[in-house]
Structures are given as C-alpha cells and as structure tokens.
Subunit: 208 residues, 2 copies
Amino acid sequence: MTPITVVLVDDHVVVRSGLKALLGTQPDIAVVGEAASGEEALAAAETSSPDVILMDLAMGPGMDGIEAIRKLRQRNGKQAVIVFTTYDSDADIVRAVDAGAIGYLLKDAAPEEIFAGIRAAVQGKSVMSPPVASRLFQQMRNPDEVLTAREAELLSLLTQGLSNRELGKQLFISEATVKTHLAHIYAKLGVETRAAAIAKAIRREGMR
Amino acid sequence: MTPITVVLVDDHVVVRSGLKALLGTQPDIAVVGEAASGEEALAAAETSSPDVILMDLAMGPGMDGIEAIRKLRQRNGKQAVIVFTTYDSDADIVRAVDAGAIGYLLKDAAPEEIFAGIRAAVQGKSVMSPPVASRLFQQMRNPDEVLTAREAELLSLLTQGLSNRELGKQLFISEATVKTHLAHIYAKLGVETRAAAIAKAIRREGMR
DNA sequence: GGCGGTATCAGCCAAATGGCTGAGAGACCA
DNA sequence: TGGTCTCTCAGCCATTTGGCTGATACCGCC
C-alpha cells in the first residue's frame, strides 16, 4: 500500500523538521518535500505532486500562504491543502477556506489530530482543530457578522496601519470602494472608527 | 566529554520535536527534557537540571515564558536561559533580558545559529539573532524613543480605540493636549497615523 | 539662576476619515 | 426571470485627525 505523500510548507526550519519527525512515525504517511515560502511551495507541489500540502499562513516576505493556496487551486491541483498555523483568526479561516483549503489545524494540535487531518484530507474530508470549529459555528449562527473574503483581506491590511489611499493601491480599487468596505466592516465588528476596528481585529483575531 | 544538556520549553509539539531532531545532529548537545508550559519548565529544570533552557515566550494560558525565567533566576539556577521565540518585539526583548535571559534567538534562525547560541550560553556568553541585536542597538542609540509615563498611558488607551475627545475625558486633559502627546508618540514610534500607532503598539508591546 | 524635559493648552489649516444616498456589473440561486 | 449578495464606484458634507507655531508652568539638575 503506497503511503500518503505530503509536502510541508513553513518558513521555520524547526517546525518543518518537527513535523517530519512526527509524521515519520506513521507508516502510511511520507514527507516528500519541503518549502519555506509560497514560491517554493508552488515549485514543490509541481515536482513532488503530493497528495496533501501542510501549509503555514504567515511566511515572512513574499507570497503568503493564502495566495499560495489560491495559486495551487488555479492550476490543476488535486492536492488537498491543509492550513497549519498558530492562530485561529476568523479572517484567516474565511480567507483560507475561500482560497480552497480543505482543513485548518493549529500548531498546538495533538499529533493524532494532525495524522487524522492528513488521512481525512486525501479522502476529501475536512478536519479542523476544535477552536477553529467553534469559530465557524459561531459565524454560522449569526451570519451577518461574518466578513466576506474581500472584507477580511482589507481588514488584514488595515491592521498594518495603512491609510485608505494605501489600501486602495494595495487592492487595486478606488478609495471610494475602500470606504464602502470599511463601513461594512465597522458595522459587522460593531465599531465606529478605524482605530477601534484595528484594536478589535488584532485582539480578537490574533492578527499579526 | 559530557554533552551540553538542554531542556526545551514550547507549547507546540512540532516545535519541540523539530528542535530535538535538529539538536540530535550535534554530538555535543543532548536534550534531556521537554516542557509545554511555564509550570512544566520549572519542574523540568528541577528534575533534569540542564545546562541550558531553550524557552518560548508565548505559551497559552498560565505562566508565560518571562515569568518562568524570572522564577528560575529567583531560585538558585545556574541554568542559562535562551529565549527562542517567533517575534522580535522590543518589549519582549527588554523584559526577557530584565528577567535574566542570556540569549534571544528567533525561530527562523539557521540551525548553526541555534547550535552556536547553546554553546555560547554555557560559557556565559550571549547570542542573539541579528534582528534582535539591531533592535537593541537601535534602542541604545536613541534613548529618546522611549515613551514617557504619560505618553505610555495615553498609548494604552489609544489601543482601546478611543477618539481624541474620549482620551481627553479619560485623562482629564484638553483635546489640544491629547494631540500634542499623540504627535510625540507618533514621532517616537516612527509612524504618521493613529492607525499605524495602534498596530505597532499592540504588536510590539504585547498590549492586550 | 538658567537649562532641559515634561505636561499642559490654544489657534489655524490641510488632509483624512466617516455617514449618507445611489448605482451598475457579475455571480448565484430559486 | 427575479431576488440576493458581493464588489465596485461616485458625490456630498460633517467630523476628526495631523502638522505647525507658540505659550505657560512645574520639576530636577548643574
């Protein structure tokens, strides 16, 4: 029986070797590639064509995890992408699912949880860590508090301290559109100013 | 020749096993213990009495890394504590050094850097990742980047999302004074807008 | 006594932000 | 086909914020 092939994407050496050590204990799982950036992830997916990709979201400069997932989906891509990251941010979850991730595991997950996630992913099933699941349920209960992917993207940049003009340039939209999105975001977050939105977003999202 | 004994403290399984795998390649370094929390770290230091402790700062609920370091120093403790964390926050660096850490390495450090850090630590020498070092130098060069007590107080409220008017009411000063303080804070933080100041403050100061 | 740092306040003006209404294009679904 | 959602854009106007200059008062220090 051929093992499940996995590529690891994370900019930290220790995380990659940690995962490799953990996954090495499972006879039905084989790590066939590693990458430290979004760009490398695309290349590794190409050459190794794994069954599953374990992907961190935050990866220093360059292409981030979300973008890498999106690009993978745009190609052919029968690889299942599982997000493997530190924080359970609403915005990141939404954006990751939107980009085409099939699972969302936190780095403090138990090893068994990770193994189960990988095995589920190859069968097209989703697995997520409990905190992630509860956030999703939360969102389903009151759907008009859920940010759209675009709004989440904007909020993420907002927490970098960008002005409306800069936000527009970054996202290739006009300032008018930025203001529209912001108004929606404020309403959904229950705040009235950009300052409060940033404070709330960073604190409740673990956005970094 | 007896190897250098090391205890790893990190709430992520993958990070611990990653480090163990990396350090296992060095014949003069032996991992003799692991801990997933500050409390466990103290216990492990007691039972294993290692030469070096590699300690993450952020560790979920309970005692954080800084506090664990402080407690270790308060005891007898000839163990050298090296901080091993993801972010190079000014506040964290200062607090870690203050608590008694001898080194400060980032998780994206090259393996050689980590090995060198451990070997230096047992000889009482300090090693820190380049970004950490540059931050420290930065602070020493221009000490007028340090916020005054009043400014820090204002910044703290600012990160709650208050407006100038609200800040004034809270602190019993006029809006004009609030604006003066803000201008000074912006200059010291190297930002130009309130949004950027909030983002920077929350992220780099751990203000929560 | 003067000097530097801190905290306080004022006024003026340009720029950014937020609230509002309205609207077109595309996707998706019933 | 029609309704809903999302994303996009525009204009108008009130408020807020930020940059500037200048001023007073207190404190510690040489």
